[in-house]
């Protein structure tokens, strides 16, 4: 079997996160492979829909939970559109785990701050749960998450869960104008009964403002802290200067990049940013590393 041939995995759950975003849960069909499969938070895989192709998504489930893996996908192109036709029970392919990972062990006894925008929460969610599943090892955990509107928030059920924990500070926000709509979702997977959200009506009880603005207002301390940030390029571009102003060192800010990928193993030559291949030397980078790269991403 060559390195371009995927492992087969069954789709065991699909959750409609937003109108165009779904979370897929996959379980490997080969029992031995399923048992042995391990990865680190931040790594990605090449997910196949046979006939449509392969796409790169981060592994959105944490490495602390075994037996399955999850990815979160927005329909924008050929493969992700084909994923809209995938149902529970279908077979997909997976190659991975590829890439580097968040150095979670280095964050012990430190304050961990997560900042995410829109679907950028997916790769961050993996490391959030990785940290929460080892909660005692870390100091304060803060999550700042925002999207354009309530409808665009992903992982709503988990936002509720994080909100409910007293060892996590969650600051959630929507863009001005995005607070109109039902909050307080009751969600179930396709494997359950309810698909999608929209249970009890409730007013938005979070912030209203763009993520960079909310970050600035959130009274975050750079003292003994690391930041994990992921989101649309504009969110990252506007938030990094704010973090710098707040005193966060470049080496303490971690992000995960994406680039168009095909092989995932450093051979097809397309994902590089200068001498750095996102699939092999990334996708996790510190702000310090990004600043040293040619600005071609």
């Amino acid at each position: 079997m060559n390195i371009y041939q995927p492992q087969l995995a069954t789709v065991t759950d699909i959750i409609e996160e937003t109108v165009d975003t779904r979370t897929f849960r996959l379980e490997f069909q080969d029992a031995a492979y399923r048992e042995a499969f391990a990865f680190h938070a931040g790594q990605f895989g090449e997910y196949s829909v046979f006939g449509a192709g392969e796409s790169t998504f981060c592994i959105a489930s944490p490495p602390t939970r075994s037996g399955y893996l999850e990815c979160c996908v927005r329909a924008v192109g050929k493969l992700t559109a084909a994923l809209s036709d995938i149902n529970v029970g279908d077979t997909m392919g997976f190659r991975g785990p590829y890439g580097n990972w968040f150095p979670v062990d280095d964050w012990k006894d430190r304050n961990v701050i997560f900042i995410a925008g829109g679907i950028g929460l997916a790769p961050v969610r993996c490391v959030i749960w990785n940290v929460l599943d080892r909660r005692d090892e870390f100091r304060d955990v803060t999550i700042v998450y925002g999207a354009r509107s309530i409808g665009d928030l992903v992982y709503k059920r988990e936002l509720l869960e994080w909100q409910g924990r007293d060892d996590v500070r969650l600051v959630k926000t929507v863009d001005p104008g995005g607070q109109v709509g039902k909050w307080d979702a009751e969600v179930g997977g396709q494997g359950d009964q309810v698909v999608g959200w929209g249970g009890k009506a409730g007013e938005w009880d979070g912030e209203v403002g763009y993520v960079p603005t909310i970050v600035e207002q959130a009274e975050l301390s750079a003292d003994n802290a690391v930041v994990v940030i992921c989101g649309p390029p504009i969110v990252i571009k506007l938030t990094l200067p704010i973090l710098e102003k707040l005193g966060f060192a470049d080496e303490a800010i971690f992000t995960t990049l994406e680039n168009r990928m095909k092989c995932g193993v450093g051979k097809c030559g397309r994902c590089n940013i200068g001498p750095v291949y996102v699939c092999k030397d990334g996708p996790v980078f510190t702000a310090a590393q990004l600043n040293a790269l040619p600005q071609e991403f």
Binding site: I3, P6, G51, N259, P275
Partner: protein
């Protein structure tokens, strides 16, 4: 120092016949074949004229087809190790289950007779990326199945620059042996165990070199080396450093604006290896995943599904080509991703000239340090 043997033209014909009879695939430079239509000479405009002529590397069934002399085959040897399109696996839908059929990762034995040293040296350079942490079994298996004899080159024309990038007209990098044309046949040297085994297996075909042949061969090689050194040259380390440190230089704009983004340069290049992977349905519920040659010069190469394109214009794309070959690959793998064959210069119909570019960069680099 290996023994130098002699293979006469007659014995070469017999050797090829032996190989073909034993089902070993023989590949070498040959006249372009193909069906002809009465009254329609296979007249190839453009590229076919000039240094390319109508030679190409292909399988031959007899030594008559081999053209072991001057002339550069149109495409490099790359196609035999990274085919222009290659199946990676196929699948069959069975209800909602899927069955995947692997492709073979072992290949029938092949011999390349008369590869140009620049084309042969390219293989060892690409080996590095193909084995960077993950082993590309398809590439490696083809490499393992192939015995390669390079042919001492007499230097094509003024666009060759192999000596500037660590290759030479008689280089044996990545080769198992070297043929050098002399009167009546070829001097043959072996440089690897595989090459020695090959000669041992067919020892009867090889003889002691006739008087004067070794001297003639040495003279030919020395003359070729002198000739290519008369072409332009540049220092790869200076070029590497300049390219690495001048990402935003206005020089790139002067190159990118003329370029069409056609990608012909990358297709004919022996070291360019970038590929695309696509799924193709071949029937109801079945199909295969293939990889095929791709080019960093196409805008689609780095285009995200969202519409964002990190290399959104030809200036960025052309810079990437020079950057990848002369800065990035050397940084990562210690070798320049170029063997100085000059095909890109001869192929580019808009007159982009890598030699001119590298010499200019070297000059800028030297000015920088003054």
């Amino acid at each position: 120092m290996t023994d130098v043997l002699f293979l006469s033209r007659e014995q070469l014909a017999a050797l090829v016949a032996d190989l073909v009879a034993a089902d070993t695939i023989v590949i070498g430079p040959a006249r372009a074949g193909g069906p002809a239509i009465p009254g329609l000479e296979d007249r190839q405009q453009g590229v076919a004229k000039g240094a390319f002529g109508t030679l190409e590397y292909r399988e031959v069934r007899s030594a008559d087809e081999l053209e072991l002399g001057p002339g550069m085959p149109r495409l490099s040897l790359k196609q035999f190790f990274l085919p222009q399109n290659e199946k990676l696996f196929s699948w069959q839908q069975k209800g909602i289950a899927v069955e995947v059929q692997a492709v073979p990762t072992a290949f029938a034995p092949r011999v390349i007779l008369g590869g140009k040293p620049c084309d042969v040296a390219a293989l060892g350079i690409v080996d590095k990326v193909m084995n960077w942490d993950y082993q590309d079994e398809l590439w490696n298996a083809r490499r393992a199945a192939t015995t390669i004899f390079a042919l001492s080159c007499g230097v094509e024309d003024q666009h060759c620059f192999c000596t500037s990038v660590g290759v030479a007209p008689d280089s044996t990098k990545s080769a198992d042996g070297l043929f050098t044309a002399v009167d009546g046949g070829f001097l043959v040297e072996t440089t690897t165990d595989l090459g020695r085994e090959f000669v041992d297996k067919h020892r009867a075909r090889f003889a002691e070199p006739p008087g004067g042949a070794v001297e003639a061969g040495t003279a030919f090689r020395a003359a070729a080396l002198a000739k290519v050194r008369e072409n332009f040259s540049f220092n790869t380390e200076r070029v590497h450093d300049w390219v690495e440190n001048h990402f935003e230089d206005p020089f790139w704009a002067t190159l990118g604006v003329r370029c069409n983004g056609c990608g012909a340069c990358t297709m004919v290049c022996p070291t360019c290896h970038c590929f695309d992977i696509v799924d193709e349905e071949e029937g109801v519920g079945c199909g295969s995943r293939r990889r095929c040659w791709d080019t960093c010069q196409a805008s689609k190469f780095t285009a995200h599904a969202s519409g964002h394109n990190p290399r959104g214009d030809q200036i960025a794309r052309y810079r990437q080509r020079v950057n990848h070959k002369f800065a990035i690959y050397p940084t990562k793998f210690g070798e320049v991703l170029c063997t100085g064959c000059g095909r890109c210069v001869r192929t580019c119909q808009m007159g982009q000239n890598i030699g001119e570019i590298l010499v200019a960069i070297d000059e800028y680099a030297q000015k920088d340090t003054q």
